[in-house]
């Protein structure tokens, strides 16, 4: 077993197996029409992709950490975030429990590491 990395879950075989349906749905959001179909009826769209109850709950919650726990991959989840017009700093703030301003300050502080 590999050592754990704090606050980090590499997308390995365990996560890839767990997250397939969720990631496949997010991959479909490359297309505008699919993003609109999701927006029009999220529940039907999730059923169409066979999301697990855990995955569907995570999507409903809007919480990225829950989506990751359900096997979501950052590269595909980014397309889901796009539906809500969230940028990467919104996402970072949400996951770290900071305000966006705090999260931005944390990034800038890396200059003085």
């Amino acid at each position: 077993m590999l050592p754990e990395i704090e606050g980090t879950t590499p997308f390995d075989s365990t996560m890839a197996r767990r997250g397939y349906a969720l990631n496949k749905m997010c991959f479909s959001f490359n297309h505008q029409a699919n993003r609109e179909a999701f927006r029009a009826d999220p529940e039907a769209y999730m059923r169409q992709y066979g999301l697990t109850p855990q995955q569907a709950d995570a999507i409903r919650s809007g919480q990225v950490l829950a989506m990751l726990e359900a096997g979501g991959n950052a590269y595909y989840l980014a397309k889901f975030a796009g539906i809500f017009g969230l940028d990467m700093q919104d996402i970072g703030a949400q996951q770290t429990g900071m305000t966006k301003t705090e999260f931005q300050a944390k990034l800038v502080a890396a200059n003085f590491q």
């Binding site: 997308f11 890839a16 490359n30 950052a74 539906i83």
Partner: protein, 284 residues
């Protein structure tokens, strides 16, 4: 024989495309990033490469987990972009250099790299932004000054190819380019990194110390980063910082240009979006 003119490593971030689209490159937020490129553009204006071999990682536009390659080599007559999920306008198509594509595919197979051949391939921001950064006038309408061969390296799903394997891929490509019967001038580009992490409680992770050491290693100790496993790289530079594998491949390719690598220009800036960004141009 073809002539290798040098190599450029650069960050890519979707927001960079947005900034170019809006024309805000000189805003205070963006200037420290875009300001790193004019010296590189100038150098390229003198060196005038014809072909770019572009090491990049797909972000879920062209490849999905149903068919996830370790290494994929483009062999298309042109590469289209597309909506990646955010509605950012697609980049204009980029012409492919099919002769070099197939030359590389044949050389790599001969040397026991097991590549995926892509006669059609959508290029995401990681493949297109470096071109816009290096040739800002590129396809205003007058076309691009270069043709490309995209080489996609998996950073989406573990196991990723080992850093030493990625470096060896670069070396094999460099040697194949050096042996290519052509009068073309070739540039290698590595598109990715440096340290950043988008996902998890550690989102926003940046490691300036590692990044600066990595940039130094690109000049004088190119295999330095191959001492780490990908798991260790993720710990050091973040889940997406591991995209620095693209730089390793680019640097491996430059070895074939001969000894005595010289730094043309570098710039390092924290942050753009969640990323520690860099550009580095090297020649021999």
């Amino acid at each position: 024989m073809a002539k290798i003119i040098g190599a450029v490593g650069t960050s890519h971030i979707p927001a960079i495309g947005g900034a170019i689209h809006k024309g805000v490159q000189n805003d205070p937020y963006w200037q420290p990033f875009f300001g790193g490129f004019p010296p590189v553009q100038q150098w390229l204006g003198q060196e005038r490469p014809d072909v770019v071999v572009m090491f990049y990682n797909d972000h879920g536009l062209n490849f999905f987990l149903d068919k996830m390659p370790t290494f994929a080599v483009g062999a298309a007559p042109q590469y289209l972009s597309a909506d990646e999920g955010w509605g950012i306008p697609a980049q204009p198509p980029v012409p492919g250099c099919q002769d070099l594509s197939w030359h590389l595919i044949e050389a790599l197979t001969e040397r026991e790299f097991d590549v995926v051949t892509c006669q059609e391939m959508l290029l995401d921001h990681a493949g297109t932004l470096p071109l816009k950064l290096l040739w800002p006038e590129g396809d205003g309408q007058g076309g691009w000054p270069v043709e490309i061969v995209p080489v996609c390296i998996n950073t989406v799903q573990f196991p990723l190819p080992k850093p030493g394997r990625v470096y060896a891929l670069g070396r094999a490509i460099g040697e194949a380019v050096a042996a290519w019967q052509s009068d073309k001038r070739v540039l290698f580009v590595g598109s990715g990194g440096l340290s950043h992490q988008l996902d998890g409680k550690r989102a926003g992770h940046i490691n300036k110390g590692f990044d600066l050491q990595f940039l130094d290693s690109m000049v004088s100790n190119p295999e330095w980063a191959t001492r780490y496993t990908n798991h260790e790289l993720v710990e050091l530079v973040g889940t997406q910082g591991v995209e620095l594998l693209m730089w390793l491949a680019m640097r491996g390719a430059l070895v074939a240009a001969g000894p005595g690598v010289r730094e043309v220009h570098r710039n390092y800036h924290i942050p753009i979006s969640n990323t520690a960004t860099a550009v580095l141009a090297l020649t021999t």
